[in-house]
Subunit: 235 residues, 2 copies
C-alpha cells in the first residue's frame, strides 16, 4: 500500500485506519404479483436481527466492481442475468452493521416474477408485499423506502415498468402495475389517454385468454419509440 | 471484529480480505458566474495525475458518516455551512485509485459564488467553466458528467437553481442559469410563462441597479410555494 497522506488532513490517523472498511451491495428486487408490488426478501439469520426480513445483499469481493457485485447477487438469487438494475444510494452510518464498518451501495431491480426461479430456498427467500413491510434488519427498511421512492419518480417519464410485466399484457394489467407502484387509484380514461400519447405500445391484435372479465386487447412495449421526454423548461 | 462469514459465499476469503477498503467523498460544487456554469476544482498533486484538475474530496474518517464528510469538505473548502447537497452515485471500479481500493461516494452542491471565500489557496482552488473541462484526474470527469446530468434532470421540476443565485435576481439572470445548466438557448416568452405557472417567484417591486441594459424587476424565490409536481400519470 502506498502512502496516501496526501488525502487526509488528520495527522493523527495513518493509512491503515482508513483502509478498514468493507463494502456490501444490497438489491431491492421488485416484482408485481396478485395486483401488488412485491420485493424479494429473506429472513435474516444473524444474531442481532434474527427472524427479521432482510434484503438480498453480499460483500463486494476485493476484485469486483460494484455493478458486477449487484448482477452477481441477482443472478445467484433469481437465476436472471439480463435484468434492469439501477444504483440508488449508498448508506454509510458508522454503526449500521454489527460486524464492523460496512458501507452498502443499494440498487433496485425490476423483474417479472414468472421468470424467477426461487430455487435457492435457504433463509425462506420469498416475494413479500411492499406495503406489508414495517420492520426489517439493519437499515434495510430505510433502503427499501429510498428505492421505492426512486421507482415512483422514475415511472413518470421512463418505461421501466415493462420489466415487471410479461411480454404481452393488457392495459388493465399495465394500469394495475402503476397503481401498485404509486399506491393510488388512477382514472382509467386519463391513464389510457396519457399512455397512448406516450406512444410506447404496440397493439398485437390479440385478446387476453382465460380471464374472469371481458378479454382486453394485448400489447407489447415498443422500446424503439422511447425517447427521453424533453424537459418542460426547454420545450 | 466479529465473524462475518455469514455474509460471504466465498470460503477462500477471510474477514480481513474484505475489511480493506477506504471510502472517500467527492463533491461537485457548482456555481454560476459570468453566464457560465462553473465547478470548484483544484490541481491534482499526486504523482500519477500531477497538473490535472481534480474535484474536492477527502477520505471519510472512521467515525464519520457519509453526509457529514461531504459537509465537512464543503465547509473546509468554501467556508459555507448551510448549503444544498445531494448524493448522486458511488464509483467503485477496482483500479480507480493508485493508493489501493478507494470507493468514492459523490455529491453535488449548488452555491452562490459570491458567498464563497476562496481563502484556501492551496492547489490553486478555483472556479472552472464546466464546458471547458475535457480531462481530469482519476475518474473525476465521469463523476462531473454524472453530477451535471443529475442537475439537468433535477432542474425540470425542482427549484434547486435558486441556490446558485443571490437572494434577489431578475428573470434574465434566472433564464441565464437555466441556459447554462441545460447548455441550450431558451425562448424568453415560453420560459417566463412556464416559470410564472410554477408560482415560485415573489415580485419584490424593485428594479435592478447599475446594469448595462434596461433594468429588470427583481424577484425572490418563494420556498413556501414549492410542492412536488404531481406525477403526470397520477394527474
Amino acid at each position: 500500500m502506498k502512502q496516501i497522506s496526501r488525502f487526509s488532513h488528520f495527522g493523527e490517523l495513518s493509512d491503515k485506519d482508513y483502509f478498514r472498511i468493507a463494502l456490501s451491495v444490497d438489491c431491492v428486487i421488485f416484482g408485481f404479483e396478485d395486483g401488488e408490488l412485491k420485493v424479494l426478501v429473506i429472513n435474516c439469520n444473524i444474531k442481532e436481527y434474527r427472524g427479521k426480513l432482510s434484503l438480498l445483499g453480499d460483500l463486494v469481493r476485493p476484485d469486483e466492481d460494484l455493478d458486477s457485485a449487484s448482477y452477481r447477487i441477482l443472478r445467484e438469487r433469481t437465476g436472471l442475468g439480463d435484468v434492469y438494475l439501477e444504483q440508488v444510494q449508498t448508506f454509510g452510518a458508522v454503526d449500521r452493521h454489527p460486524a464492523g464498518r460496512v458501507i452498502t451501495t443499494t440498487y433496485f431491480s425490476l423483474v417479472n416474477v414468472r421468470d424467477v426461479q426461487l430455487t435457492l430456498a435457504e433463509n425462506d427467500l420469498h416475494w413479500h408485499p411492499v406495503n406489508d413491510i414495517h420492520d426489517m434488519a439493519f437499515d434495510h427498511l430505510t433502503i427499501l423506502h429510498a428505492c421505492h421512492e426512486r421507482l415512483r419518480e422514475k415511472v413518470d417519464d421512463h418505461p421501466v415498468v415493462f420489466n415487471l410485466l410479461p411480454k404481452k399484457f393488457s392495459l388493465r394489467e399495465l394500469q394495475c402495475v402503476y397503481e401498485a407502484i404509486l399506491n393510488t387509484r388512477l382514472d382509467r380514461r386519463n391513464f389510457r389517454k396519457k399512455f397512448f400519447m406516450m406512444d410506447w405500445l404496440v397493439d398485437l391484435d390479440e385478446l387476453e385468454q382465460d380471464v374472469p372479465h371481458r378479454p382486453g386487447k394485448l400489447y407489447r412495449f415498443n422500446a424503439a419509440k422511447f425517447t427521453r421526454k424533453p424537459k418542460a423548461l426547454a420545450r
